[in-house]
Symmetry: C2
Subunit: 137 residues, 2 copies
DNA sequence: TTCTAGATTATAACTATTCTAAAGTAATAA
DNA sequence: TTATTACTTTAGAATAGTTATAATCTAGAA
């Protein structure tokens, strides 16, 4: 399955028509060989830079939300100023460099498995994620 | 040292005069026997409910920021919609109940110690905190 | 008591996000 | 094809959490 087919599948599966704008968003999000972290504003700038065209924020927000709902991207809580997203949708941990405002994936092999010895009645664990804040040393 | 003396000390140490409003904020934040988590809006409502008087949001924000800067309270990243704060300033982990929008402290004895086997050049670790998201089971 | 630096407050400004509604486009049926 | 329709894009308005402003007030020192 080539990229374009894959993008169309992702969009259709998210209940969205494969429009020019949405395919560009897919291109930026899913065609690199590495996953990455982004804010909506950063994504908007990357799109302009890569395709020399601007996509309205409304469309970017809409598409990102649809992909979030389907699990094609995930949201990372780092601060309350703006939302950060991740094209790596596996459950994983992060370093957060507060100076550069940058997230870095931590591979599972780099952390001893986290074990929680407590249950909350009526609740089950949905995800377990570390945020390791960094400062200049 | 009684509460009032303690509050005045905290305020002075934060570079703030002990005014009526700020002492009320201290009362709510620091006189209970348990620590707790709050958003600014929740704090504002608790103050109204406990003291039957309203303190302007500007004053609440200012005071909370000053206390943050001195480490008398800390900020917890759970989502990007609003800031959450914690009167438990020790480094500790949290459950986050997304349905109730509620944070619950996890005691260190309830988690195996987290061990990170990776260094980022020029950076040192400032804090290591887990966010364990819960869903209804 | 007087004086003044600092505090309180209502409200304006700011910014990330969501909403709106007019104009445009993709899908499909004829 | 072409026509029809439902969906999409977009600029800009609205919203909400937060921060800034500036007029009024007050704690603390003299
Ligand atoms: Mn930031
Ligand atoms: Mn906001
Ligand atoms: Zn990641
Ligand atoms: Zn806590």
């Amino acid at each position: 399955m080539d990229n374009s087919t894959n993008f169309i599948a992702k969009l259709r599966n998210s209940g969205l028509r494969p429009t020019k704008q949405r395919l560009k968003i897919c291109e930026v999000l899913f065609s690199g060989k590495n996953t990455f972290h982004f804010s909506i504003n950063e994504l908007s700038k990357i799109i302009i830079q890569k395709t020399n065209e601007k996509i309205s924020l409304a469309t970017i927000y809409n598409t990102v939300h649809a992909f979030l709902g389907k699990g094609y991207i995930k949201q990372i809580a780092v601060n309350s100023e703006q939302s950060y997203y991740d094209t790596n949708v596996s459950e994983h941990h992060h370093f957060y460099d507060e100076d550069k405002n940058q997230l870095i994936d931590i591979h599972d092999s780099e952390v001893e498995p986290v074990k929680i010895n407590r249950k909350i009645p009526g609740k089950k664990i949905k995800s377990i994620e570390l945020l390791v804040k960094l400062q200049n040393s």
